[in-house]
Subunit: 439 residues, 2 copies
């Protein structure tokens, strides 16, 4: 490594990549003061760079669409912002194996391969920065690994997807229906043309998987986290939630249960006294609870080129400080068991376990006498206690909504009962069970 | 330094000190996993240790009431939790000059001597950790120096004193008066027997001074920050604030104005749509705004033995990682001008400047005709525009409250007008001017 400058190679000249390069230019002199040496952009990889305006890149930078050429350019810090799996994984892996500092915003890859990457980093004494992979505008990973690691973290929960939070906030505010608000969110750029990754909760599960690893040293891969999206939430649910003094949020939850960690992504009826209930619009928020610390909450923009770029550049600056001193990469978490193979990552976290919540159970039915009795007897067979029954005046008796709240019940029990309730012939759509968060 | 263990010496066996020592014991094996070597408590300094239960300290620890003896005990990390000025300053200074890692929770000293301590740390290649000095339960200093430093921070504002926030929250919730709630806060342990440091805003000014330094690289010493406490806030102010859709918070504000930084501690009428308005009880919260990041907010417990101990131990762990690798202390901010003498610290931040706010102006008067006319003409002479006039039904005409809201006006102008308004004979107590925070 040169001690007169630190060479940065950026893969991906999209929204975030452009914003990172702009920040490196605009703040160049301040960054030089902070880290003691200048940062120099040496290479940019972009598959379609020939069709882009490269005037902001400046001269003396090797712009290429060849991954091999990019990886061969001498650099101290490699920044992976191409997203997806290939060539992103190759860029990260090669960089780590070359002992470089690697900075990535790739939550998909990181959620799948965190342990493999940590192992490469350890073996090759490389630096691995991934703050931008979760909640771009909140430095939550650094907070977990550099500050809250002094405490024993017992719970983490958060609003991890800005698109879902925007949609739910709008539904709650305006009384409009899901599809209507989704269309608006797409036109405003808050939702992708293909919104499934967001609204299915899978994006939140990717982030939760990473947060679990950092907070608890153990996690599950995203596909093993029980995940329910927001597609089934209707405007009627907000109407009833509001009467009960709740709102609806898509939350990622991770809780320590003895030596296990329970992970879940689901819409939650969230009581208005909960700090998370107050987070509106396209924001992210993470609440962390420690045995000594109590609860602390971190809120900010979750995505967008500029906030994500700030997290990427923070990693670049920390990597530059690391490069100069060859200090170890001590953001790396200690795993609670040996990280041998990829599959080990999943061993010690559970996804079902003993989670019990009150539930909000919403039906749309073709009205006739005896419905409540059938629902009540089905619940009783599962030893589920009804707490209250709510039915607002409604004109359409062929598609009549009502709500039952349930006393704290195991998730697994509720799911078995729900499967049975779904079979009853009076339902016009399958009933919806949403856990309720009171504290 | 021994490479088989890291020796920790703790000065101060009070609430925080006990909690730190308990945490070091309870989490010993996890900390050893995180940092690679065990931490060992080697010395405890306490003036009155002979009257205390030392059973939690364990054997082989040199417990003393002699500062010299304490400082001579070989240690890698010195933790200063005695508070106050002497011998705290001597412990910090000596530790840094010996090239040790020094961790302190002393906001008073840090607000006064940050630059001197940073200079010693630089000269002697020592580590300086001070996370616990501001908002014990929120790792805000680390966030500023390790994450948000990638962005250009333009504004920082926060609820920095939990006692004041508890009192104001209670006043707002219950309609009770200041003195009444203060007495309750004292009986609950949320306020000191001598609460002046808190309610005068001076404690918040100490913290704001440190935050300004970390966020902007420039600040003012606390005694040069314009500071107004909460003693003059009455229940009637909450009544009117509520009608206007505001609540009242004691805020510390730091804003970049070109090359200057403006600092202020004051009660603010805070609009309910502001995230800071939702922070109730004895919590702290810091909102940071960057040009790229937008706003991010960090909330948690501000004080108390356990949350503060978590921040102290986080510094100990980071110091231990630093010790092992002799990496530089790069949490240290880059100052915007050379740090020569202590007084340089104040040069480049301003306290008055061009801050303009709408104001809430509250009077208690002995009623007669012509009062509004006199107030209005006084304001007009200062070119201050009235926005609205509010007067609720009130029985006591000898002590009648009313409120005028003022269009955005310079702080300095408002203060001059207020001095003049205070001279008017109809006032039963001096009028109160509180700035209003809308965005």
């Amino acid at each position: 490594m040169s001690d007169r400058e630190i060479r940065v190679a950026v893969a991906g000249f999209g929204t975030v990549g452009k914003s990172v390069i702009r920040l490196l230019q605009e703040e160049a002199s301040r960054y030089r003061d902070e880290i003691g040496v200048p940062l120099r952009l040496v290479a940019v990889l972009d598959r379609s760079y020939r069709r882009k305006d490269l005037s902001s890149i400046g001269s003396g930078v090797a712009v290429t669409d060849s991954v091999s050429e990019f990886l061969e350019t001498p650099a101290d810090i490699v920044v992976e912002l191409v997203g997806g799996i290939d060539p992103a994984d190759r860029i990260i892996t090669t960089g780590l194996q070359q002992g470089k500092a690697v900075v990535t915003a790739n939550k998909l890859l990181f959620a799948q391969h965190a342990r493999r990457y940590f192992q490469f980093a350890r073996e090759h004494n490389a630096y691995l920065g991934f703050e931008a992979a979760v909640a771009g505008g909140i430095p939550i990973l650094r907070v977990l690994r550099r500050a809250l690691f002094a405490d024993r973290i017992i719970r983490l929960r958060g609003i991890l997807n800005g698109t879902c939070n925007f949609i739910l906030s709008e539904m709650g505010k305006t009384g409009r229906d899901f599809q209507d608000v989704l269309t608006e969110a797409q036109s405003l750029g808050y939702a992708e043309a293909d919104p499934l990754l967001d609204i299915s909760g899978r994006d939140a599960a990717d982030k939760l998987s990473i947060l679990g690893l950092l907070a608890f040293g153990k996690t599950r891969p995203p596909e093993q986290i029980p995940t329910l999206g927001i597609q089934a939430i209707s405007s009627i649910d907000f109407l009833y939630a509001d009467k009960l003094d709740y709102t609806i949020k898509l939350l990622g939850m991770a809780e320590r249960n003895g030596d296990d960690v329970t992970l879940r992504v689901s819409p939650f009826l969230t009581h208005r006294r909960q700090p998370l209930a107050a987070i509106s619009g396209a924001l992210n928020a993470v609440e962390v609870t420690g045995t000594k610390l109590g609860s602390a909450m971190f809120t900010g923009r979750g995505a967008g080129g500029d906030p994500t770029a700030v997290s990427v550049v923070a990693d670049i600056l920390n990597a530059a400080l690391w490069k100069q001193e060859s200090a170890p990469f001590y953001l790396q978490p200690v795993f609670h068991r040996e990280a041998g193979t990829e599959s080990d990552a999943t061993d010690s976290a559970t996804a079902h376990s003993t989670e019990a919540y009150p539930f909000f159970l919403r039906f749309f039915v073709k009205d006739r006498t005896g419905i409540i009795a059938e629902v009540a007897s089905t619940l009783a067979r599962h030893d589920i206690n009804i707490n209250s029954l709510w039915q607002e005046p409604w004109s359409d008796l062929a598609n009549l909504p009502f709500v039952i709240t349930i006393e704290p019940t195991l998730f697994s029990t509720m799911q078995r009962a729900l499967a049975e309730l779904s079979q009853l012939e009076f339902n016009t759509i399958p009933p919806l069970a949403v856990p309720m968060l009171n504290e």
